[in-house]
């Protein structure tokens, strides 16, 4: 059986995370997204009434799945199709996730953990628990099939359609019948009895087996002929009628062994039955393994899409446009009204979006006014990139970007900014780690890197590193206050491919500044300026 809602050709294994996962999460503020994906909102008449409590399982799954990038266009579109189906049929994914979750809770109650271990010898409770778990599997599969029946023909995605189709094939009506037949035949072993028409019904076994004789008269070569659970009316063994019946039976049967009253024989028969049950259960081993993996995967994979639906609800809360991103070449980057999702959620705002089509540029350099939205812009690009690479929608009217197998972030963090002799060393060491783990076609996001030394030195360092990376074909988006670095870069790119440097294309952006000095928080393509307009800020806060 297969789920394959995350990948078309395999299940979730959770390996091949971004090498820089921890920094990406911290620098882009992704924890907020993980949490929001785990919290549904309660709506009333279309308006948000309440944000519900977090589902820790969804948070955990989203935080893991988001950090394992998809590798190509097909994989991304495969997931996008499923996300779209789920956004269109929220009931479906909610229902599916609920079945998977409820099933998992019952599984735990039946002693899932202990049952995964090997049974000890003569471990009746293990065996009973194993049979009950298998019964739960069969029931849950039947429930799933029933659930799908009401959604027939609703889905356009290959992923969901394939999942449903395979389940119906892999657990066909015939399979279902056989498993139910088998479970009924051994029901006596796990049944607690039942009531029917006010009479107590007890489940009793009937087992027929054949065997041969080996050395020393040991019984050997056993084969099972029949196993059945008999449903009988409960009889009081102490009633006179029953005692009489038993007496007659015991004295007429010459070819039977009477067990009642003989503790030793009763114990040995119980052991025999136990071994027969163990034997039968070994036949169900593949089914058990298969189902255990299937339900595990089902819960994980539906949780991911459940998270996507929740995120959409949060985007709606703040009137944010969402779209399914498209894949293009690494040197292209097209976006329309791209917004920084995390900031919007945290600050509960709609925010300003950025729009631009950048073609044939591998390096994007962002300079300009402090507090002008540079870092926000950089983060919005990073978040959109990560969301796209896990198959999610992005918060924009349009987003087209390349696929980057690795993303690295190098953000000078606020707590790091203090000028401090040891800091540059740390920054460089961090940079060196990035160089160690970088692979062809990576994306590097630099935010105020090398701010921990003088402008001149920082510029030189940045120049060397960025140039080397650029020539190695690495895409870099950098926010920098190192103006001499930006100027030098600009003049070199302007002077027509002299020493062939920077021939992978460079785009320069600045925070937009209106003629009257007001800032719009938009990023526009522009020649880098020598001032970061800190004076503006100074004037604003301190006064001119």
């Amino acid at each position: 059986m297969r789920v394959r809602l995350l990948y078309s050709d395999h299940e979730w294994v959770g390996i091949d995370k971004y090498r820089d996962t921890n920094n990406i999460i911290q620098d882009l503020g992704l924890k907020t997204l993980f949490t929001m994906a785990s919290k549904d909102v309660l709506k009333e008449d279309g308006a948000v009434k309440k944000v519900l409590d977090a589902d820790d399982f969804i948070r955990d799954v989203v935080s893991k799945v988001m950090m394992v990038p998809l590798e190509n266009e097909e994989e991304i579109y495969y997931r996008q199709g499923i996300v779209q189906d789920c956004l269109n049929n929220e009931d479906f994914i909610e229902g599916l996730y609920r079945i998977a979750t409820d099933m998992s809770i019952q599984w735990d109650k039946l002693g899932r953990k202990d049952n995964e271990n090997k049974a000890r010898s003569n471990d009746v409770s293990w065996l009973m628990s194993r049979i009950r778990i298998i019964r739960l599997f069969v029931n849950s599969l039947s429930k799933l099939k029933h659930f799908f029946a009401s959604y027939q023909g609703t889905f356009s995605s290959e992923g969901i359609a394939g999942f449903v189709k395979h389940l119906l094939e892999d657990f066909s009506l015939e399979d279902e019948k056989k498993y139910i037949e088998l479970l009924e035949s051994v029901d006596f072993y796990v049944s607690e009895g039942l009531m029917a028409d006010d009479e107590r019904i007890v489940c009793k076994p009937r087992i027929v087996l054949e065997c041969g004789i080996a050395g020393g008269l040991k019984l050997t070569d056993v084969q099972l002929s029949e196993i059945e659970t008999l449903h009988q009316k409960y009889r009081n063994p102490n009633s006179t009628l029953n005692k009489l019946r038993e007496y007659v039976d015991n004295h007429t049967a010459t070819d039977s062994i009477i067990l009642s009253g003989d503790v030793m024989l009763e114990k040995q028969v119980a052991e025999l039955v136990y071994r027969i049950m163990r034997y039968i259960v070994t036949y169900l081993e593949p089914f058990y393994e298969d189902c255990a993996a299937f339900f595990d995967q089902l819960r994980i994979q539906t949780a991911f899409y459940r998270g996507a639906v929740n995120l959409k609800h949060h985007a709606e809360r703040f009137q944010l446009h969402i779209c399914m991103p498209k894949v293009c070449g690494q040197e292209q980057l097209h976006y329309d009204t791209l917004k920084e999702f995390v900031m919007c959620i945290e600050q509960r705002i709609t925010a300003i979006g950025n729009t631009c089509d950048i073609d044939d540029k591998l390096l994007v350099v962002i300079t300009g006014a402090n507090q002008g939205g540079k870092s926000t812009f950089l983060r919005s690009l990073g978040i959109a990139q990560v969301m796209m690479q896990c198959g999610f929608f992005v918060v924009a009217k349009k987003f087209e970007a390349g696929i980057f197998p690795q993303i690295f972030t190098h953000f000078t963090r606020r707590e790091d900014s203090a000028m401090n002799s040891g800091r540059l060393d740390e920054e460089l060491s961090r940079m060196s780690q990035i160089i160690d783990s970088i692979t062809p076609g990576s994306l590097v996001l630099l935010n105020e890197s090398f701010a921990t030394t003088t402008e001149k030195e920082g510029s030189n360092i940045a120049y060397d590193i960025i140039r080397a990376l650029h020539e190695a074909g690495i895409k870099i988006i950098t926010v920098t206050h190192l103006l001499s670095f930006a100027q030098r870069l600009y003049s070199e790119t302007a002077s027509a491919n002299e020493n062939k440097a920077w021939n992978n294309g460079v785009a320069f952006f600045c925070a937009e500044r209106l003629p009257d000095g007001r800032r719009t928080y938009k990023m526009v393509q522009s020649v880098p300026e020598l001032t970061s307009f800190g004076l503006d800020l100074y004037n604003e806060i301190i006064g001119g």
């Binding site: 065997c211 041969g212 062994i257 028969v269």
Partner: protein, 515 residues
Amino acid sequence: MEFPGILDLHKNPNEDVARPAFFLDLNIDQIIERIDREWGEEVKSYFYFPADRESEDYRRKVCYDIKQAGLFEPLCAFRNKMLDTVRCSEYREESVLSLQKAVWAICEATGYCEALSGLKAALEAANSQGLLQSEGMTMLFGFLQDYMAGGEYQTLLVESRKLLDELNSLRIRMTYENNRVAVEAVDVKDAKELAPYEQFLRFFYKDNPKNLVTPFDDTVDLTKLERSVLAIFVKRRPEFFEAAERFEKSHRDFICKEFKQLTDDLSFYLSFRKFEIKLEKKGLCFCSPTVEEDKIIRAEGLYDFALACSMLDTLTQGSESVVANDFYYNNDEQFFVLTGPNQGGKTTFARSLGQLVYFTKMGLEVAAVSANLHYFEDILTHFSVEESVETGRGKLKEELIRLAPMMEAKYDKSFVIINELFTTAANYDAIIMGTNVLQHFIKQFCTGIYVTHLHELCEADKAVTGICAMLDENGKQSFKISRENIDYAECAANQVNKHRLGYEQLKSRLGGLNG
């Protein structure tokens, strides 16, 4: 026809034997431990039991036949079958119920016949290809043929086979219902056809059907449930059980003592061969040594067997991590004095020579590509006890006390290995004492090797030749042993160069500092 056993022509291998003194020095105990472990049963004592001169050759030829005629597998099969048979016979003794004894007797007899006919088939096949060359195997084959043609054996074979077939055709049906178990006898229609519920189960596990291995108690004793079932069943098939009891009464102690002995003794050859196969898979060589009077020792690709054992887990096919040496004694040479750098493989080489002599004396194969040597009466070793707290005269005294009995006359024509004697004595004294020791053993017609750091001992006698543990071109130990002498000055220069510590090198490395 008589059969004296496969191990020895004269002595009984069960005589009390103790571990020979040289075992520890030559690390032979480590080898035997590995063999024990691989075999899974203790076979140590067989390796404490040396062959006499005649039996050594007897064993070597048996050993050769086992390898060349591919008899390892069939002999193991024979041995296992015999062990099963012996177990059946023990159970038969212990059984209380006469019916139980009877069924054990059938199993014992059929198992015994199968073991013998399997052995006969294997030996016939080998013989028809002309591969039974050894006296031991030929005698065994003859003895076996005679025995199996005998009337007593034939009766046993026919009767037991018939009863076994009948036993196998008995089927019991048990129905457990309403707290009672009904027992019936059923006729076997088709043994291959599965019972209905088994058929049903196959649906769930198509690829890998399992069999319900006896769900009754694991012990060989009958449980009360089984006894109760059988008590009813026996009444349904009285003819068979009566016949079985008659058989048991008329066939007791039929296992021939020669085959019992053979079963035990085979473990000597088979345990060694099993281990050998494992090492051969790792690319190590073994050969059957040739014993000739006119050669002292000539070996090709000789290596330390114990060292190879200790490296077994890390060795891979074709690796050269076990160093092998080619080596010979000229006819006028009796003793080698081995010198060379520390950790250069001197002791390892000396051990590999000792092991060569030991395994040859055992009549087994040796750890080399090829080997010729003459017969040695015994092996004498003297290894210094390293890291001893005792120093000076104390240690020297201890060494001499151990040395004295080795120099008794009864040990002539032995192979002698001396490792670092008299290290605590002054060089002058040590040279004189060492020379005396060497001359003594030479006079006793002993052959051997003397590992020492004293080059002067190379001149101790005209029958002494100096040899060296070599260094490679980088001045590192190569673990190769050669008759060449090492130029130590050159080796030292190599090492200095390698570490870029030569005068010119240092000038150049330090050049920047002097401006």
